[in-house]
């Protein structure tokens, strides 16, 4: 039985007046039905581009998918017709966006916008669709859902609006939910509530989730596996526990060290030297080598593929030689 | 709440339907170059638009034979008057009215009472008609019986009928009962005896009249006659060429007549001769215009044949102070061969300017009305004077300001075109009598200040007005004109005809050689 979603060697380039930018450069990962995957990385590492590519929502000029395949339920959506894509979007796969302030259309009521999804994908009368919308709003824990359904986006708080967006995404029971930094624009207390809500809904609907974030803490207790991205490609992919326990890739290790934690008393947070390379001037070979203390000549010349065990792989030549202990071997 | 708002706004924008009047009948449309109607009351009618409409609605006592401008007493045709005669001393006039002539709108029969009422109303300063000066001569009016009117004049006037009883200058007989009943509303609700009865007036658009069944010369063949106000030359011309309008007033724009002839070869051009007087008065109180040599230089620089090239046979040269067709006007053969200030001779102009101490000419500021006939004439004069070194700095002003300001003696060169009864005496009284100088209480239109400056002919004018012998009267008129013209207070410009263009399908019923306001379309029909 093939996986719900298989992405292999996906590449997305941006064609700008100042030259071609390789935003996503050969990203591959798999996602089983009901599973959830976290995609983690700093700003500009290509994680949002990847998410948008999955739904074929890339802004056509300047971005374009230049290579690779995306198979959803075995069907390669790279050559899906527009009509087919429209059938999938909103029903089979749905997306939640980052800034709730701009995601909803300001001139239509929240209920109308949710009901629109229902009427698009299920033959329902406007009244029935509106009722489904109110039900969806209730499901995401919004008090007085019928008043909220008639309200306009500017009349709701940030948190409420994000819940409405989630309701809109889930109303047609999608098999895959892509969440692009759903909580970044919210303050911490609301952030926790939204994450709990997503966990509850994932268990109820059985939807697979791809959670995209730059915040490792958010990923910790929601996803099964994590893919770490750096400068347009996946540098490490492993179950969430292994990533935290035994990060294989030097970049991931750097990231974890940079996380402030209550246990360790540090007066200066360790950082990774250097800066993220500018997309137009990508270093040859492994893109992390200028900032990697384990960098070797091979790192400078050749780009490492994902090495190591299928469950825990990392794109780093150092892996083979020093057989860093891979925590997963011991874990059941 | 939002739904009802939308409905309210849509209601606001609905097109407003106007009353409909669709009647299949023979309609003739005449387009006049006017922006709107001044008044349909004969006492206040101004401009061609009013005059044309009033002429169709009213009758006068006497008029020139249809389509002509024959003015002598024995050539006249009677309208409301059946017979008319003048006492030997030209002080008593007796008119016997035609019997059974009906007023419009059922106001009954025309009587001598109506005629007396009309003449008194026109003379009354309180009414303030612009033609009141023509009626001041009438001292007493008797109505011995229902159809006879006897006028006693304060001074002999062999031509009183021409100035007071004929079309175009207020001579329309009005209905006493109607005027008293309608009061202020009379201005726009005329009651006359003419071939067409007033129906309605759409402001800025048109006046609608219909054939009067009980017209004393028989019901007109046209069911409806509309006078349309079409001030914009382009639209008026296009409407005529397309056939929407049957007759339009000509435009004094160079090349206009040949162009219309090209677009509609079978169009009929009615040139009313003699047309209006068009002259450029020289304000002789202004430097250097007070110098006779300068004025002669200007006269020699103007070549009247240039107008011929621009307007073709729409204009005819004017040798004296009045158009050739006027009674007592100077004709071509009266002009001396040499030593005549108005012969075209630019070289002589420059010599005269040098003698006057202005070897390289001079410049003069002049303002002019923006209306075509005024602007075009000054443009042509300006160009010719420019060639001899006289620079006219021209400033256009709007029409009302122009006429208000020239009466305050504010202009140096005053181009003035006016319709006068076809008598040289009328031109003398209006423009060359010292009592008519602008600024004086009895002012009329003497812009050149002739009479106070450079000579005076008042005595001669009074004498000719009283003269009863025809031959002696003509000789005196010519002598006066020579005396005036020697001083060059004015530069005569070619006299424009009263020009109208007609679609051949509108047959007026007689050949037209007179101004459009002098005859009625009573006999007109659509062929």
């Amino acid at each position: 039985m093939n996986a719900l979603l298989e992405v292999d060697d996906l590449s997305v380039h941006l064609f700008t007046p100042r030259g071609v930018v390789r935003a996503v450069d050969g990203v591959s990962f798999r996602l089983e039905a009901g599973q959830s995957l976290g995609i983690v990385g700093e700003s500009g590492c290509g994680k949002t581009m990847t998410a948008l590519a999955l739904m074929r929502l890339l802004p056509s000029p300047p971005a374009r998918i230049v290579g690779g395949h995306i198979r959803f339920n075995g069907e390669d959506i790279m050559d899906a017709t527009d009509a087919r894509l429209r059938q999938l979007r909103g029903s089979a796969m749905a997306m939640i966006y980052q800034d709730p302030m701009t995601t909803l259309n300001p001139v239509f009521s929240v209920g109308e916008q949710i009901a629109e999804v229902v009427r698009l994908h299920e033959h329902a009368t406007p009244q029935a669709a509106f009722a489904r919308a109110v039900e969806a709003l209730h499901q995401v824990g919004i008090p007085e859902p019928d008043r909220c359904a008639r309200a306009y986006p500017h009349q709701l708080s940030g948190g409420m609006r994000q819940r409405a967006v989630i309701a809109m995404a889930l109303v047609c029971r999608p098999r895959l939910l892509i969440a692009d930094e759903p909580t970044t624009a919210l303050d911490v207390t609301i952030q926790a509530q939204i994450l709990d809500l997503m966990r509850v809904l994932r268990d109820e609907t059985g939807a697979a989730i791809i959670l995209i974030t730059h915040d490792l803490g958010v990923v910790a207790d929601l996803v099964d596996d994590v893919a770490v991205m750096y400068a347009g490609s996946v540098v490490e992919c492993a179950p969430v526990a292994d990533v935290f326990a035994a990060p294989a890739h030097p970049y991931t290790q750097g990231l974890l060290r940079a996380m402030p934690s209550l246990e360790r008393k540090l007066h200066r947070l360790p950082t990774i030297e250097g800066t993220v390379p500018s997309p137009a001037a990508m270093p040859p070979g492994c893109r992390f080598h200028p900032r990697c203390n384990l960098a070797r000549t091979i790192c400078r010349d050749h780009r490492p593929p994902l090495l190591g065990m299928p469950e825990h792989s990392a794109a780093c030549w150092a892996l083979t030689e020093f057989e860093l202990s891979i925590a997963h071997v011991t874990a059941a | 709440m939002r739904r009802d708002l939308l409905k309210a706004m849509l209601g606001l924008g609905a097109t407003l339907a106007l009353p409909r009047m669709a009647v299949a009948e023979t309609i003739a449309r005449v387009g006049v170059s006017a922006r709107d109607l001044g008044a349909l009351d004969p006492a206040f009618g101004i401009g061609n638009g009013d005059e044309f409409a009033i002429r169709q609605i009213y009758n006068t006592l006497v008029s020139c034979p249809d389509g002509t401008e024959l003015i002598k007493i024995d050539q006249l045709q009677g309208e409301l008057a059946e017979t008319w005669n003048m006492s030997p001393d030209a002080r008593t006039w007796t008119f016997r009215l035609r019997q059974g002539v009906q007023w419009h709108k059922g106001y009954g029969e025309v009587t001598s009472e109506d005629v007396a009422f009309t003449l008194r109303r026109m003379a009354d300063p309180k009414i303030g008609s612009q033609y009141s000066s023509n009626y001041r001569l009438i001292q007493q009016i008797d109505t011995p019986d229902r159809y006879t009117v006897v006028l006693h004049l304060s001074a002999p006037s062999p031509f009183i009928y021409a100035t007071a009883m004929m079309p175009r200058f207020g001579g329309y007989i009005q209905c006493k009962k109607a005027v008293e009943e309608l009061g202020d509303k009379y201005r726009l609700n005329p009651v006359g005896t003419g071939p067409y009865e007033f129906v309605s007036y759409d402001p800025k658009q048109r006046v609608v009249t219909r054939g009067f069944e009980k017209y004393w010369r028989g019901k007109p063949k046209l069911d409806r006659l509309e006078v349309l106000f079409l001030s914009e030359t382009a639209s008026r011309t296009l409407a005529f060429v397309k056939g929407d309008v049957d007759m339009i007033e000509g435009a004094t724009v160079p090349g206009w007549f040949p162009s219309v002839r090209k677009q509609m070869p079978n169009a009929v051009f009615d040139f009313g001769r003699p047309g209006g007087t068009f002259t450029m008065f020289i304000n002789m109180t202004r430097k250097p215009l007070d110098n006779l040599k300068v004025r002669e230089a200007m006269a020699h620089a103007v070549d009247q044949s240039i107008w011929q090239g621009a307007f073709g046979d729409f204009v005819e040269p004017m040798y004296g102070i009045s158009p050739q067709g006027f009674y007592g006007a100077l004709q071509k053969q009266d002009i001396p061969a040499q030593d005549w200030p108005f012969s075209f001779d630019p070289a002589l102009s420059r010599k005269l300017l040098a003698e006057a101490g202005l070897p390289n000419g001079f410049s003069v500021d002049v303002f002019i009305s923006e209306r075509e006939e005024y602007k075009t004439n000054l443009l042509i004069v300006q160009e010719q004077l420019r060639k001899v070194g006289i620079q006219i700095n021209m400033r256009l002003v709007d029409h009302s300001s122009y006429h208000a300001d020239i009466r305050k003696d504010l202009n140096a060169l005053i181009i003035y075109g006016s319709g006068q009864p076809p008598l040289t005496q009328a031109v003398l009284n209006a423009f060359y009598d010292s009592r008519a100088i602008v600024g004086k209480p009895t002012h009329n239109m003497n812009f050149s200040h002739f009479g106070d400056v450079a000579g005076n002919v008042d005595a001669l004018i009074d004498q000719v007005n009283r003269e009863t012998d025809d031959a002696r009267r003509i000789a005196t008129l010519k002598q006066i004109q020579f005396e005036i013209l020697r001083q060059v207070p004015v530069i005569p410009l070619p006299s424009p005809a009263g020009a109208w263009v007609r679609n051949p399908r509108l047959d007026v019923g007689f050949p037209v050689h007179a101004f459009m306001g002098t005859f009625t379309l009573g006999k007109a029909r659509l062929v």
């Binding site: 700003s43 500009g44 949002t48 800034d99 | 914009e232 030359t233 382009a234 011309t237 296009l238 060429v241 435009a251 724009v253 160079p254 090349g255 206009w256 040949p258 162009s259 219309v260 090209k262 677009q263 240039i306 090239g309 621009a310 303002f367 923006e370 075509e372 602007k375 443009l379 042509i380 300006q382 160009e383 420019r386 021209m394 400033r395 256009l396 002003v397 709007d398 300001s401």
Partner: protein, 288 residues
């Protein structure tokens, strides 16, 4: 990845104009306006004949070798009149808006900056002016000062003044809330100084665009005013009064009005294109 960081640096200073030449429209627009300005300046020297010289023998002729654009009803050479007319039409078309800009922008900045009574007064006054139709304004001014050159300029200046005022006012209100303004207030600079150094450059972009677009409107207005007989006075030619005179006999001799109309259309086209191009480059949000 929207930029949440506050803008401390003054944006006008950092914005690099995109390549101006790249845009086709700009090139055509600039070329058109440059040639017209050149014709206006060199008019008298390049006009083949005297625009005032009347000759009724050669009246109302179609274009010929001797008269490239034919002759008008007075027999005057239309080609020379169009060239000399350029100076009149452009002079009015430029002076009017520039006058309106100078006064309007200052008033707008004051209203935008101080708000309160000044703002309400100036805005009420500008709304009042807006409620007069431009052409009627022209007729009334012409009735007072007499039709002519100065009437057209004043009428156009009054017509465009409110637009500049509203533009400058709203731009100032936006710029005023930016932190870099607080920064310069903290640096002790007076309101006038700030307006000159910070507010003016920031609205300069949209102003130049507005000016070029409204020059186009001004040229159209001059034509309309001349059509009503209020603009440049005969015998001096301007495109507007050439159309007016030519309209009398448009079917018989269409050439004078046709070429004058084409000249106006080209001039307005040029300025519109230039304005569009400048807008796309400098300030995409601006709408006239």
């Amino acid at each position: 990845m929207n930029d949440m960081a506050q803008r401390v640096v003054d944006p006008a200073a950092v914005r690099q104009p995109r390549a101006l030449v790249g845009n086709k429209l700009t090139v055509i627009g600039a070329l058109l306006t440059m040639t017209l300005v050149m014709i206006a300046v060199l008019g008298p020297w390049i006009a083949p004949q005297d625009p005032l010289d009347q000759s009724f023998v050669a009246a109302s002729q179609p274009p010929s070798a001797e008269h490239w654009f034919g002759t008008d009803s007075f027999g005057r050479d239309v080609f020379s009149r169009v060239i000399i007319g350029t100076r009149a039409s452009l002079a009015i078309g430029l002076t009017g808006p520039i006058m309106a800009a100078l006064i309007g922008v200052w008033a707008g900045m004051l209203a935008g900056w101080f708000g309160g009574w000044t703002d309400r007064l100036l805005s009420r006054f500008s709304d009042l002016l807006m409620s007069f139709p431009t052409l009627l304004l022209g007729v009334m001014i012409a009735a007072a000062l007499g039709p002519g050159f100065q009437t057209a300029i004043i009428a156009i200046a009054i017509a465009l003044f409110p637009r500049f005022l509203r533009l400058a006012r709203s731009a100032t209100q936006v710029v005023r809330r930016e932190p870099f303004i607080d920064a310069s207030i903290a640096a002790g600079r007076g309101p006038l100084g700030i307006m000159l150094r910070h507010v003016a450059p920031n609205i300069a972009g949209s102003l130049i665009v507005a000016l070029s677009l409204w020059i186009a409107t001004a040229i159209r207005l001059e034509a309309a005013l001349s059509f009503l007989g209020l603009g440049t006075q005969p015998p001096a030619p301007s495109w507007g009064n050439m159309i007016r005179d030519g309209m009398g006999d448009l079917v018989g001799d269409p050439w004078p009005a046709a070429f004058a109309g084409a000249a106006i259309t080209l001039a307005v086209l040029g300025f519109n294109m230039l304005g569009d191009a400048l807008r796309d480059m400098l300030d995409p949000e601006l709408d006239t």
